[in-house]
Every structure is written in structure tokens, then in C-alpha cells.
């Protein structure tokens, strides 16, 4: 433990690694807790095995490798304390509890906290979405880039957002068979967002490369998809689409889908941090100043766990949050460095907002989720159950609907179904989306094996 303030960083993705580096270089020796066995988070995850990484559009493994190597060197030199395979399960303002590599739950006090929990894919419950063979597009990406395998032999990509095209293009480059990219957004929406997208020319260039790769491979790109359903009895056997040109059936054995990313808010929620409803993304976001300070003293958020801006911005945000922490400790910080980070982050924010306009979430599809569609996959709760319970009990708030139906009460705590459940409830009750609220996090925020608790008791005894 370092002399003076104990600083904990949760998460060792681009944001967490960058924050930890700044603090370590100041001699503050942060503790870094990360669920994974190796640093990098999801987006900069270390690939398994030997050999050259395949050349994929917009994929620069050297940047990720540099960040991971720098982090590991600081850990090796004792300038930061790295706790891999350590999952934070509960949190108060000055103490956290984590399930460690040993299988025991341990706790540590802290003075300051930087949360870098990352994001999860926004999904849309459709018929068949719980079938084996349906993955998030981020999951397909993890399989490809980290595990070096494909999630299926013939993969259909459906949803909206830049990740869909990026992951599909990378699959094509790696030799996978991509049967189509089906986008619920329309081309004119992307074109209208072009002025904002110009905030990041390299991002635009990457988009062009991805589209070119898909065209070369003659992958159909279907825009303006109005509805879709995954078909199959025990696993994915096809994808049925309602396109603007009529119905279409795709022959596939895997589906990668997603509608952009949403921050993982559970840990911050345990602290009763304030959130606000962002009407543009129609999602709940933590209240943060531009440096990543929450209104809670000594608590900071960086990366996609706070604002969805991608890996490069996450790294800058991690650095910025650590500098804010140093400033708050009364240490001198480099003014021009801070100004440069703020400018670059502002530019990335503009780009991210433009992406949101180019690939808007298909609200109409979510409002029209069929009664028999499973919304909460952990508890098997259908849209009909949510609608019926909310009407029968005049439930106008999402946590009340959860108590009535178990929707969002399962293992994932509503990480996946929460946004759609709120929309269904709002629709059933004739309320606006913000007024039904959001699912509250409950400790432990990840399932805790019963044996882990026993080990803790033994340790404490």
C-alpha cells in the first residue's frame, strides 16, 4: 500500500491502464483491479497463441500492445499493484469487495476511485434472439480477434452502428463467410451526419475502408431494415428480415447483432451517484464533468463506462481523469497537457454524437416488440408479462415492474434487457421513457459463488 492516499482503479482496459500509468508515474502506486487475467480490457484484449495477427481494417495491434506492455512493466516494477482475475462485486464510498483469483472475497479501503468498467452492447429483443448461435457483434469480434475463431460458418450481421460494419469487415478480411450486413438505419441518416463525422477524419477513413472491404467481398448491405427475427429450433438456422424491398430470408448458422454500446453503470450506481437521461442516445449516463469527475468527492469515471467514445478516446479520458485526481490532491498538473486532452476529447465527443445520429437506435422496433418475445433472457420474462403486470398493478416505474415480473432480476441484473424493458413499460403505461427510470444495481453486481463467501468467512475468522 502506498503512503498517503490509497487510489483504486477498477478496470484495465484503455482507460484504466492510462489512468494507472499517470498515477504510477507520479509515484502514487495505484491498485488496479481487473476481472480479466490479462490487461487490455475488451477492445485491447491480448490475442491467444503465437504468430502474426491478421491484417484487419482499422486494427492496429501495436497500439494495444504498447499500452499493455507499459502497464505490465509498471506492475513488474512495483509502481502499481495489479490484481488480475479480480471482480469487484460491491462498493461503498470508501471500501470495495472483490472476488479474487484465489476464489476468496477480499475487501480494501480507498480514498479515491477511478471507475473504468467499460460498456456492453445495446441489444433489441427479437424472436429467436436467445437461440444458441446468436452473439453480440462485440462477442463475434472477441472470438475473431482474441480467440481467433469464428462464431459460425455463415454469419449474418444485423443491428446498427459502426461496430457492426467494422466487425463484419474484419470477418471478411479474416476469411469468414458474411452473408449480409442488415442495418436498421437508413443511408440518408448517415449522410446527414457527415458534417459531424468530419470531426474525426481517421474515423471516416476507417468507415470507408470497411465499406470497401465488404463491397469487394460482395457482402449485401441492407439498409432500412424494418424488422427481423432469428429462425431455428435448437440453434440458429436463418435470419428473416423485413427490408424496404420486401421480406428476405438469409441462410446462416450464426447471427452477430448489436445497436451500439451502453456504459456499464452498476458499480457507480451502488454509490448512489447521480445519473441523467440523455435524450440524444435515449440512455442513462453518469453525471460527469469533462475531466471525468462525478459529483461524489474522490470518485471518477473514464472510458466507455462513462461516455461511449471508443478506445482512443477512452485512453485519453483515463489520462484526463487521473490528472483531475492529481489536481484534486493539490499536485501541480501540466496546464497545456490538460487543455490538449480536453480539446481532443471534445472532438471525439462530437464524432460520437454524429455516429449516434448516423445510426439511431430503432425506437419503433423496440416499441413493437411482440408479446411472446423473451425480453429478459436470464429469467425468461416476455414482453406480454411485463405489459400485463404493469397494467394490472399500475406499475409506472421499472423497478416496480422488475419486482412484479422478475424482469432484470436475474444473473445479468438487467444489463441486457433494462433499456428495452423500460421502453415496453413506458409504452404499456403511456409514459415517456425517462419517467419510468432505470433498473437499480444490487450487490453483488456479478454472481458470487456460494463457496466464495465461505472462503471469506474463513479468512476473516
Amino acid at each position: 500500500m502506498s503512503a498517503g492516499a490509497t487510489i483504486v482503479v477498477v478496470g484495465a482496459g484503455p482507460a484504466g491502464m492510462a489512468a494507472a500509468r499517470v498515477l504510477a508515474e507520479e509515484g502514487l502506486r495505484p491498485m488496479v483491479l481487473d476481472k480479466a487475467a490479462r490487461p487490455g480490457g475488451q477492445v485491447w484484449r491480448e490475442p491467444v497463441g503465437e504468430g502474426e495477427e491478421p491484417s484487419l481494417p482499422g486494427h492496429d495491434p501495436s497500439q494495444a500492445r504498447r499500452a499493455r506492455t507499459a502497464f505490465l512493466e509498471l506492475a513488474r516494477d512495483g509502481r502499481l499493484d495489479w490484481y488480475p482475475s479480480t471482480t469487484v462485486v460491491d462498493l461503498t464510498r470508501d471500501r470495495l469487495w472483490a472476488l479474487g483469483a484465489s476464489g476468496a472475497v477480499d475487501s480494501t479501503g480507498f480514498d479515491r476511485l477511478i471507475l473504468c468498467p467499460g460498456a456492453i452492447e445495446r441489444i433489441l429483443p427479437v424472436p429467436g434472439w436467445t437461440l444458441p448461435g446468436v452473439y453480440t457483434s462485440g462477442g463475434a469480434r472477441t472470438a475473431l480477434e482474441s480467440l481467433r475463431c469464428f462464431v459460425g460458418r455463415r454469419i449474418a450481421f444485423v443491428g446498427t452502428g459502426p461496430l457492426l460494419y467494422l466487425v463484419a469487415a474484419r470477418h471478411v478480411a479474416a476469411g469468414a463467410s458474411v452473408v449480409a450486413v442488415a442495418d436498421t438505419a437508413r443511408l440518408h441518416q448517415a449522410l446527414a451526419a457527415l458534417p459531424g463525422l468530419a470531426a474525426d477524419r481517421s474515423g471516416l477513413a476507417l468507415a470507408a475502408r470497411c465499406l470497401a472491404a465488404l463491397r469487394r467481398a460482395v457482402v449485401p448491405i441492407l439498409r432500412g431494415v424494418r424488422a427481423f427475427a432469428v429462425e431455428g429450433r435448437h440453434r440458429v438456422e436463418g435470419l428473416r428480415l423485413e427490408t424496404r424491398a420486401g421480406p428476405r430470408e438469409l441462410d446462416c448458422d450464426a447471427v452477430a447483432f448489436g445497436f451500439g454500446l451502453v456504459p456499464q453503470l452498476q458499480l457507480l450506481d451502488l454509490l448512489d451517484a447521480p445519473f441523467r437521461f440523455d435524450p440524444e442516445s435515449e440512455s442513462w449516463l453518469p453525471e460527469l464533468d469533462r475531466a471525468g469527475r462525478t459529483p461524489l468527492p474522490g470518485v471518477y469515471v473514464a472510458g466507455d463506462g462513462g461516455r461511449i467514445r471508443g478506445a482512443r478516446a477512452a485512453e485519453l479520458a483515463g489520462e484526463r481523469a487521473a490528472l483531475a485526481l492529481l489536481e484534486d490532491l493539490g499536485r501541480p498538473v501540466d496546464g497545456p497537457r490538460v487543455a490538449r486532452l480536453d480539446r481532443e476529447l471534445e472532438r471525439q465527443s462530437r464524432f460520437a454524437r454524429a455516429l449516434g445520429r448516423a445510426f439511431p437506435f430503432p425506437r419503433a422496433l423496440e416499441e413493437a416488440i411482440a408479446d411472446d418475445t423473451v425480453v429478459c433472457r436470464c429469467e425468461g420474462v416476455t414482453a406480454a408479462a411485463l405489459r400485463a403486470a404493469s397494467r394490472a398493478f399500475d406499475a409506472d416505474e421499472i423497478n416496480r415492474a422488475k419486482a412484479l415480473t422478475r424482469c432484470g432480476m436475474g444473473r445479468c441484473q438487467g444489463r441486457l434487457c433494462g433499456p428495452s424493458a423500460a421502453r415496453i413499460l413506458a409504452g404499456a403505461r403511456g409514459l415517456d421513457l425517462a419517467s419510468v427510470g432505470r433498473l437499480r444495481a444490487q450487490p453483488p453486481v456479478e454472481p458470487l459463488p456460494a463457496r466464495a463467501r465461505r472462503v471469506e468467512e474463513e479468512t476473516a475468522a
Binding site: K35, A36, G133, T136, R235, E379, C412, R415
Partner: protein, 83 residues
């Protein structure tokens, strides 16, 4: 890397997660009581909690974040009646 599924000896590759090793052999992870639905993972990043599986020693692990280690004994077709 040798491991077992429901007592049957199988092999995976070094660097596999438990999930990728299982899915290289069979299409799904079986069901997780009390839900009869068969699963095969979903987010693959440890967030969706859809890929918890039982181990022969009574433990439970998230298959997508658990590295395959030699000798791991996983139970997939056990419907949980012996809880």
C-alpha cells in the same frame, strides 16, 4: 488440453476459454436450471452472465472468462435436479 464434458474425455487448445473449447465440440452449453432454454454464450466478454456452467467439483464458472485448464471437468447435461 484434455478436459471432460459430463465425464467424457475431450480436448481443447491452449488459449481456449472454457466456452470456446466446448463450442468447438458441441453446439451449446446445455440448459441452466431452472431455465430449459439451451445456451451457447452471448456477449463473450463476461457481462451477460449467460454462460455459467457447473463443474464436477460443485463449483460454477462463467465459461467465457474461464481459461481452459487441463483436467477441468464440466457438467452440461445435468439439469440441476441434484441441487
Amino acid at each position: 488440453m484434455p478436459f471432460t464434458i459430463d465425464g467424457i474425455a475431450v480436448t481443447g487448445l491452449e488459449g481456449d476459454t472454457l466456452l470456446s473449447a466446448i463450442l468447438a465440440i458441441r453446439p451449446d452449453l446445455g440448459a441452466l436450471a431452472p431455465d430449459p432454454r439451451r445456451r451457447a454464450g452471448f456477449c463473450l466478454i463476461g457481462a451477460c452472465q449467460d454462460c455459467w456452467v457447473r463443474l464436477a467439483d460443485g463449483g460454477r464458472v462463467q465459461a467465457c472468462t474461464t481459461p481452459l485448464v487441463a483436467g477441468l471437468a464440466v457438467l452440461l447435461e445435468d439439469d440441476g435436479e441434484r441441487w
